[in-house]
Assembly symmetry: D2
Homo-oligomer: 107 residues x 4
């Protein structure tokens, strides 16, 4: 879980795009942590494979929902701000966003 020096330098004194939705994202992540713990308990209890798989799919979907929310916050916050104030930084944001989408789409 490392941060490149560049992004650390650029962003350390600035609120992230998701600042207005922090509590919401934390609540969702907390719920997902509970889902993962529940899945571990199912495995410990020798629950049926397909029932475990169903819960993994649900947790995976919940995680993608958090990613979608963060992407929305990022575009409305960080990308919007860069476009309005600094063309060079906007260019960097577009590339970063594309790389993040590539990873999210598993390409």
């Amino acid at each position: 879980m490392t941060t490149s020096p560049a992004t650390a330098r650029d962003h350390q004194h600035q609120a992230p795009g998701y600042a207005g939705h922090k509590a919401d994202h934390l609540a969702r992540l907390n719920k997902i942590e509970g889902q993962i713990r529940g899945i571990s308990r199912m495995v410990t209890d020798d629950r049926y494979c397909i029932d475990v798989l169903t819960q993994i799919t649900a947790a995976s979907r919940a995680l993608q929902e958090v990613a979608l929310g963060l992407l929305d916050d990022h575009v409305r916050g960080c990308v919007d701000n860069a476009v309005r104030t600094d063309p060079d930084q906007a260019e960097q944001k577009f590339t970063e966003l594309n790389d993040a989408l590539r990873r999210a789409l598993r390409l």
Copy 2:
């Protein structure tokens, strides 16, 4: 996190297909739980959106790896066993597997 009465009845006295890999799956799930906690910490610390997204993608991929492992165990264990011993149960297993794959592929 419910189990249908039918699957509970059919499987309660039988080791799941993943019995031989329980420790491995639990170790992976434990690591994923830690990843989710780390993501919550990043949000709490106002870390940059894109860096949080990168970690969500990594956790999501790790979760799919567990799903893939369970699917493999299920086919080699439960499906194989049903095919060799009980054609009616095999039919049910094929349908269940297809439904699980549909959910995993998000269709």
Copy 3:
């Protein structure tokens, strides 16, 4: 679009698992080919990005539906047959299926 010599040798004189659903798969693939052609036409006509993306998502989902159908046919046909007749070949089928699922889940 190559086939490994091994699979070509093993399967060349045998109907594929999807033999009973060939017409159905071909109809779906034909429809998808039309969807792709429609997407090309949208791009040629300078249609709005988001509208093009919506159609790409629809074609992508239709393609996954064909994959899911083929997986179902494969398990009910080829895997079932191998388990009932040849333990060594069954082992190979399980590994092949797992590799195919890994690719389909983009892992």
Copy 4:
């Protein structure tokens, strides 16, 4: 393959965000159309299920690459332009983008 009246009205006299990459997107789509035709031929020829599945996964990945390219063009073109010129339209673009990502991520 319908377009909502709103997007048709807003965009009909304006070059799409992907205008600069049209030839590239059309070449990729043309190649994908050939891939789909090749998959149909494999099914017609009774080729082995797993080999057909491998080609479906490849075509599906190529389609996601086109989607990723269009998303990049859309953000650098349409979203950037809206942010710089019209806050109300920017708001609409953010919502549209989020909806498109939701569909692309299959949520």
